[in-house]
């Protein structure tokens, strides 16, 4: 016989196991609906891989594991997915969670499975993957994904594999029944798990001595396999993982460590059975054995129940009398939790549905003050000081709670069970644990918030600094531009008062004048050259017509030569001379009457016209390409001349009209109209005339006007008119004009 160790504390609550063992293992009718929570295990929820309305077969994957810490979920029977939504689940909070809802079609038709005749030929990875794909999660109550547990860290060598068949909690007999019915397969499962974890030195199956039948069948099944079935005295909570390890091996799992770190792996017998089914027959975890017990039920027994079956359906199948029922508890009376909503489903970890009558489980008496009896400390299987923890939990002294190893509490409820003051101690510890975890999470969150706040402050400061730098740069640039703009402004202001600059300006203007002088000399030279050239050509020419043209050209050239010489002379006489001349001219212009100014303008236009015509003729003769341009120029000049002459005529007519009016003309308006008409006609005629003709015409008109003016003067002398001097000056002017005109002609 193997040595059995004892654990500290522990209690002996009424076992109440016989009720559910009277009837054999049974099955119940298929429910109308199956609700499969996506998170029946510890870790991240599975991801649905089916759509609403999809038909699925029994054993088909409907939700895939997400990440390592997760488990797959399979359809427990064939049917249709009717919803994927939040439904209340079996949880002390009574909260809802995402579930896949399946409506069975009643056919219970299996999908194609991949059994394996010889699992011993498969390697470690394949076996673990098979278990993983079967969606196994610890069936003892915690629901830890089995595949993860079977992959311990390489540093942790598993020396002892323990199958937990203890089932210490009152009322529950599911594992007991399993071991009675499926002993062979549990043993096969144990061997399989042993292979997976590298054939540990010893494989133990721990069973309490209150299950003699299970012990017998298991010992029979384990005969010759090297598996040792260890029987030990009944005591609650021997079934706790750490407690069982201590009982069977004498080793204690250190605080905050896991059994694998001391070379031990514990699996529930139900898990071993499911692992064997998964590997040997390819069956996923879709059903489990659950104890349905309590005095409010007509039938109390163990059943095979499909995962997802609503508790209400389970109870219904056992003659549930709701009126008699104090409360419905999932799990046992020590560690289970009561549920309000009976529609919550059976999940992979549901080992018991307890529906006690009022008499069976009266409400807990009100808590009284702690009398410091110390019984809780004696009962604690984890060697804690429940009384201290209770004080600190009430005072919310979380540091002290942690120092007193609150997190080693397995929440078995032994302390509550023994407390003579009926203080719900475990509830304090649970709340304190929650509070500490919440505080930790809050601290992490506030640290992150602080970090983000600091980063934001930094970022804003940086942005501000950058903006400031940019602003400074812009300011500098603006100042530079301003300075540049002010510089040239300032410079001339200085120069105006700078005699040197004035002298420079003067020198520059002198230079200009030098260049003008040079230009004039050049012009003179070129004209001289042309005259010589023409003289030569005339001498050589034999054609008389051509000679005439050349002679005319020569004359023009000689005129130009004369002009150029005069200009040069004027220029050489003094810089101020041309300016003075110009001033004189301006002065003369100002003094001139509009009529005379107009006449002068006409004279200059006529001069330019003559030159232009000459150039055009020359171009025609020599067939230069500039001919069209020249022609255009001539036409324009002619137009201008016509305009100017028309204006002149108007002016003349005004002048003549005025004296006539003054002289007391009988019909001044008629005369004026006549004059306008005459002038217009004249202008029209003039537009058609050649310059020579125009000149002749001008002379004629001048002569006529002089005649008229003389007559008027005589008339005025005779009548001793006051207009006499004005008329005389007009006459003089006309005469001088006539002379000018004659000279031009």
């Amino acid at each position: 016989m193997r040595k059995i160790w004892d654990i500290h504390g522990g209690v002996h609550p009424p076992e109440n196991k016989h009720q559910s063992l009277r009837d054999p293992l049974a099955t119940i009718a298929l429910p109308n609906i199956l609700v499969l929570p996506l998170n029946q295990h510890i870790g991240s929820p599975a991801t649905p891989v089916v759509q609403v309305g999809q038909k699925v077969l029994k054993g088909e994957l409907i939700a895939d594991a997400q990440g390592i810490f997760s488990a797959c979920i399979h359809a427990p029977t064939s049917g249709e997915i009717v919803a994927i939504e939040d439904r209340p689940i079996a949880h002390p909070s009574g909260l809802s969670a995402p579930c896949i809802v399946l409506r069975p079609d009643g056919l219970d038709q299996w999908t194609e499975l991949t059994p394996c005749e010889a699992p011993e030929t498969l390697d470690h990875a394949t076996l673990v993957e098979k278990i993983r794909r079967a969606g196994l999660a610890g069936m003892g109550g915690a629901g830890f994904p089995t595949a993860v547990k079977l992959n311990p860290r390489s540093t942790d060598k598993i020396e002892t594999l323990i199958l937990n068949g203890t089932e210490c909690e009152p009322y529950i007999t599911a594992d007991d029944m399993l071991m009675r019915v499926h002993a062979e397969e549990v043993v096969q499962g144990a061997l399989l798990l042993a292979r997976i974890v590298g054939n540990p030195k010893e494989i133990l199956i721990g069973i309490e001595d209150n299950k003699p039948e299970a012990v017998a069948t298991m010992q029979a099944a384990a005969q010759g396999t090297g598996i040792e079935v260890v029987v030990f005295p009944t005591k609650y909570p021997s079934g706790g993982e750490k407690q069982l390890i201590q009982i069977l091996t004498g080793k204690e799992v250190p605080s905050g460590k896991i059994p694998a770190q001391i070379g031990v792996l514990v699996q529930n017998v139900g898990t071993a059975y499911a692992a064997w089914r998964a590997v040997r027959y390819g069956e996923p975890l879709i059903e489990r054995i659950t104890t349905v017990v309590g005095e409010s039920l007509d039938i109390q027994r163990n059943i095979r129940v499909l995962i997802g079956t609503p508790i209400a359906h389970v109870l219904e199948q056992h003659g549930f009398a709701a009126r008699n029922c104090a409360r419905v508890i999932i799990g046992g009376p020590m560690m289970g939790y009561s549920i309000e909503d009976l529609q919550v489903p059976v999940v992979k970890t549901t080992n018991c549905v307890l529906a006690p009558s009022h008499a069976e489980m009266p409400p807990a008496p009100p808590a009284q003050a702690c009398i410091r009896c110390g019984m809780c400390a004696q009962a604690c299987p984890a060697n804690l000081l429940p009384q201290q923890l209770y004080w600190y939990a009430q005072a919310e002294d979380f540091d002290r709670l942690e120092n007193h190893n609150l997190f080693d509490c397995i929440e078995c409820g032994a302390c509550t069970f023994v407390c003579p003051s009926a203080i719900p101690l475990v509830q304090y510890y649970r709340a304190a644990k929650t509070e500490i975890r919440r505080k930790e999470a809050e601290k992490q969150k506030s640290d992150r918030a602080r970090e983000r706040f600091e980063q934001r402050k930094e970022r804003i400061a940086k942005a501000e600094a950058e903006k400031e730098a940019k602003r400074l740069a812009r300011k500098k640039a603006a100042e530079a531009v301003k300075a540049q703009m002010e510089e040239p402004k300032a410079a001339p202001a200085v120069q105006t008062f700078d005699p040197v600059a004035v002298a420079q300006n003067k020198a520059e203007s002198l230079e200009d004048k030098d260049s003008i002088g040079k230009k004039l000399t050049r012009q003179l030279e070129s004209v001289k050259g042309r005259v010589e050239h023409l003289t030569q050509q005339i001498a050589e020419c034999e054609d008389p017509a051509r000679k005439d043209a050349l002679t005319a050209q020569l004359k023009q050239a000689e005129l130009k030569l004369e002009e150029a010489r005069k200009k040069l002379d004027d220029f050489e006489r003094g810089i101020s001379a041309p300016l003075e001349q110009r001033l004189e001219k301006v002065a003369q212009k100002v003094q001139l009457s509009p009529l005379e100014a107009q006449r002068n303008a006409i004279a200059t236009i006529e001069k330019r016209l003559a030159v232009a015509i000459e150039k055009m003729q020359e171009a025609e003769r020599e067939e230069k390409p500039t001919l069209p341009a020249l022609k255009q120029g001539v036409e324009k000049l002619q137009e201008k001349l016509a305009e100017a002459q028309a204006e002149l005529a108007q002016l003349e007519q005004q002048q003549t009209a005025e004296p006539t009016a003054n002289a007391g003309s009988s019909e001044p308006q008629d005369a004026a109209a006549e004059a306008i008409a005459r002038a217009q006609a004249k202008a029209a005629a003039a537009a058609q005339m050649s310059p020579e003709e125009k000149r002749a015409e001008q002379i004629k008109s001048l002569q006529a006007r002089i005649e008229k003016a003389r007559a008027k003067v005589i008339e005025a002398e005779a009548s001793n008119s006051e207009h006499l001097p004005a008329l005389r000056t007009a006459l003089e002017k006309l005469e001088s004009k006539l002379q000018e005109a004659e000279q031009q002609a």
């Binding site: 998170n39 689940i89 949880h91 002390p92 909070s93 909260l95 969670a97 008496p365 009100p366 808590a367 009284q368 003050a369 939990a393 009430q394 203080i423 719900p424 509830q427 304090y428 649970r430 709340a431 304190a432 644990k433 929650t434 509070e435 975890r437 919440r438 999470a441 809050e442 969150k445 506030s446 640290d447 992150r448 918030a449 602080r450 983000r452 706040f453 600091e454 980063q455 934001r456 402050k457």
Partner: protein, 203 residues
């Protein structure tokens, strides 16, 4: 020299004391330079106790400025998000008797900002208001709140020109659900009749 010291105990005592003071002065001076404490540890400690919502309800632009103010002598009861618990912790740290909170305590329900996205006009005003950069968005783009980063400080609600930000209580999920502390026994129930509800007697 030694003779002089031996003959004049007063002088020798003075020399000894002087020598010691020089040595210890040097040691202290060295220690002051070598083990100089950077920053103000008190501010750090106070800052750790504050809830880091950065809400500014204390009148300072964030939790750290308030921590600095407390270290400078400001009152410790100006933090509504922290509640009386924070006030007590601060009083504990500073060794004073805890004053009562200078405001109505925020209800224990954690809240986060929620932007009704249909109504958001993308003005970025809330982005600028958020002290922890928990709102994402850009000009003329819809904004949304990073729920995990939101401290529930409320500062984004006021600047919103279209009032599309709600402070909604964070629903309890299976992850953060926890057991409640049992209600402590009322009074010392020494004998069984003490348990009886007085209302039952009346009825």
């Amino acid at each position: 020299m030694i003779d002089v010291l031996l003959n004049h105990p007063v002088i020798s005592a003075l020399v000894a004391l002087g020598g010691l003071s020089v040595v210890f002065g040097a040691v202290l001076g060295f220690a002051a330079v070598k083990f100089k404490v950077e920053g103000d540890p008190l501010v750090e400690q106070i800052d750790k106790l504050l809830p880091q919502t950065q809400c500014g309800q204390c009148g300072y632009p964030g939790c750290r400025p308030y921590a600095e103010a407390i270290a400078g002598g400001d009152l410790i009861n100006k933090c509504p998000p922290g509640g009386q618990a924070t006030v007590n912790n601060l009083a504990d740290l500073l060794g004073v008797s805890p004053p009562t909170l200078d405001a109505e305590e925020d209800s224990n329900v954690k809240k986060v900002a929620f932007i009704r996205e249909d109504e958001c006009i993308g003005c970025t005003k809330c982005l600028q208001a958020c002290p922890v950069d928990a709102i994402v968005g850009a000009a003329k783009q819809m904004h949304t709140v990073l729920t995990d980063e939101c401290t529930g400080c409320d500062l984004c609600v006021e600047p919103c020109p279209v009032d599309c930000i709600d402070m909604i209580p964070v629903p309890t999920t299976l992850k953060d659900w926890g057991w409640q502390m049992p209600k402590p026994a009322k009074g010392p129930f020494i004998i069984a009749t003490d348990r009886t509800n007085p209302q039952e007697h009346a009825a």
